[in-house]
């Protein structure tokens, strides 16, 4: 008996909290405590995310302009939605976005998986080099966009110098950010530099989740390395690769900060991804109703694509 009470004292060091608090909370059932714990988060999200979303939906049916708050608000029905879906500028922005998303995700997946595959060989010092490779993705996209504009300067930039060094062209003969054909690739390069490590990290987890005995069995069956890669490594890492593609796809569909600093959508509108169009309509021309409708369309698109993708992902996983 004596023994027992000492052990419980050692384990929990039963120091009471303030007596008032205890008395108030002791009476609560688990159910009440659960709600007490969860409600603040839900309330915050309702106030700062859901209420604004509902407000956006309302505004998208009106002619409201944030810079003329006192003008009478007129109900327009679905007019904005109709004009957005038939606006060639919007479709141009969607094409720019699609180009950006497809190429960045493709490059990042190939490079990221390749790197993960190499790191998984566990050469000496791989932990240190992995940490170094991961650094870019932790940085602020805005700051990254800003210092890449420095690297891309035609006269003084390091990027132009290195390209000129290897191709023999004049460093000032091309402008990564000012040229209509080059600027869409300039933003792809920066995004790939920044986010390849992200895909690499998720793929690495995928490769490490493959149990050794499967490879051992393949060795016993004398499957070639090539064969092992295509019928064991790739299929088993696929759910992880797809998870990375999902996350990168959603993030880049919403891309704003990096592009805003690198090109601001220019030259002209050659790098004007959807978020930049939205920002221009909402905070430069102050067409609040119109931009609200576009915002809702973008949100529904992200949400819809993500849902379809998650379903596909689950099918791959359960296979």
């Amino acid at each position: 008996m004596n023994d027992l009470s000492t052990s419980s004292q050692i384990t929990y060091q039963a120091v009471p909290i303030r007596p008032g608090t205890i008395r108030r909370i002791r009476g609560l059932s688990d159910q009440a405590l659960a709600w007490l714990f969860i409600t603040p988060t839900i309330v915050l999200l309702l106030a700062i995310n859901i209420f604004p979303l509902v407000w956006t939906i309302y505004l998208s049916f009106t002619n409201y302009r944030a810079n003329r708050a006192n003008a009478p608000t007129i109900w327009l029905g679905a007019d904005w939605y109709q004009s957005i879906l038939t606006d060639p500028d919007i479709w141009a922005a969607m094409q720019v976005t699609a180009h950006f998303v497809v190429w960045t995700v493709l490059i990042e997946t190939v490079l990221g998986f390749g790197l993960a595959f190499l790191i998984d060989k566990k050469f000496r010092g791989h932990g240190l080099w992995t940490t170094i490779i991961l650094l870019p993705m932790m940085l602020s996209p805005a700051v990254v966009g800003n210092f890449w504009t420095f690297l891309y300067q035609p006269q003084i930039g390091l990027f132009n110098y290195v390209v000129a060094f290897f191709t023999g062209r004049e460093a000032s003969s091309f402008q990564m950010l000012g040229d209509v054909t080059l600027s869409p690739w300039a933003i792809v390069i920066v995004d790939a530099w920044m986010w390849t490590p992200y895909v690499m990290l998720i793929c690495l987890a995928g490769l490490r989740s493959i149990p050794d005995y499967i490879y051992e069995a393949a060795e016993v069956d004398r499957a070639s390395n090539w064969r092992q890669f295509w019928s064991i490594t790739l299929p088993m890492a696929l759910p992880f690769i797809m998870l990375a593609v999902l996350f990168r796809g959603i993030e880049n569909f919403k891309m704003f900060d990096m592009v805003n600093l690198l090109t601001g959508g220019g030259p002209g509108s050659t790098t004007e991804v959807a978020s930049i169009t939205l920002k221009r309509a909402a905070f430069e021309s102050w067409r609040t109703g119109y931009s609200s409708a576009f915002a809702i369309i973008l949100f529904v698109t992200v949400f819809g694509l993500a849902n379809i993708y998650v379903k596909a992902l689950n099918r791959v996983k359960s296979r």
Partner: protein, 317 residues
């Protein structure tokens, strides 16, 4: 992982394959580091060295960039300089060599302080709310639990600009526009979804038996949470807090659209540091370097939990 014991030798890559893999990875790591190293080097260059062609790798180090990011300077006539005493400190010395005097502190310092206050404030709130909610979801039967968790996650799918439109109007109405409190609340709401998902994973890993034992010993559920679960979850809470800090520290879209002066953080400010006759690249590089140092430290601290953080706890290794 128990990959490296002798029984598995049959699937271990050969030494030469391993060396070749290492070589390629190290090559990639070096190339990927060049832009960052270049920014740090630029921050120690004089303005002339920073824009020289071909780019200078070797140069005489100067603290001018760091001086310029922290001070404002004004150009003066030679007659005025004769009325002044000796230069006050290093930055004044550099300024005088360019026929200028230090006029006062720059806006970088208040922006940096805003970044600190907003990042730490929103992180503290998000982690506090997230810990409570995560414990609730982890331990109790909550109706519509999966729906609520999905709802919490889905708030992160909104494009930030889409959310910024109504937030701008809402903050204007309630008087929160361009205030630190407004930004703290906004960042908390973005971070709380990450905090709930990550912390639920960490708390799920703490055996329920610990609390049950404590409750048999006379603890209430709440006491058991405070005295048993929280200490066990310290690592998870710390990792989550660092993720929230990094997000709030790096955030740009909301900051550039919703703040103009009073509550502006460093990311929208650094790109608009202008010197005489165009962008002052050493000063921009210095501001960037100072801003990035905490992130590098945090990344090294976090490296074991990075995977979990970037996948919302979906992949745990």
């Amino acid at each position: 992982m128990s990959a490296s014991n002798a029984a598995h030798s049959v699937v271990e890559p050969s030494t030469s394959a391993r060396r070749f893999a290492g070589l390629l990875v190290i090559l990639y790591a070096i190339i990927t580091m060049v832009p960052l190293v270049w920014i740090v080097l630029t921050s120690f260059k004089s303005p002339d060295d920073a824009i020289s062609y071909p780019p200078k790798v070797l140069f005489k180090p100067s603290l001018e960039g760091y001086c310029n990011v922290f001070t404002t300077r004004s150009r003066q006539t030679p007659e005025f300089f004769q009325t002044l005493g000796p230069p006050q400190g290093l930055c004044d010395n550099i300024a005088r060599s360019r026929n200028m005097v230090v006029a006062g502190p720059s806006n970088y310092v208040p922006r940096f302080i805003n970044s600190l206050i907003i990042a730490f404030g929103s992180t503290a709130l998000a982690v506090a709310l997230g810990t409570l909610a995560a414990y609730g979801f982890s331990r109790f039967r909550v109706p519509l639990k999966d729906d609520l968790l999905f709802f919490i996650l889905s708030t992160r799918m909104m494009p930030p600009i889409a959310l910024a439109i109504p937030i701008y109007l809402m903050y204007r109405t309630v008087g929160l526009s361009d205030t630190r409190l407004g930004m703290i609340l906004l960042y908390t709401s973005v971070n709380v979804s990450l905090a709930v998902w990550l912390l639920k994973g960490f708390i799920d890993e703490i055996p329920r038996e610990y609390e049950e034992a404590a409750m048999i010993d006379g603890y209430t559920r709440f006491q058991a949470f405070v005295k048993v679960v929280l200490p066990q979850a310290t690592t998870g809470i710390a990792a989550t807090a660092i993720f929230c800090l990094i997000f709030a520290w790096n955030e740009y879209a909301f900051a550039v659209l919703l703040t103009s002066g009073n509550a502006q953080t460093a990311p929208p400010f650094i790109p608009i540091i202008i010197g005489e006759g165009g962008q002052d690249w050493p000063a921009v590089a210095a501001g960037t370097t100072i801003f990035l140092v905490p992130i590098v430290v945090f990344t090294v601290l976090l490296r074991k939990h990075l995977l979990r953080g970037i996948t919302f706890g979906a992949v745990r290794k």
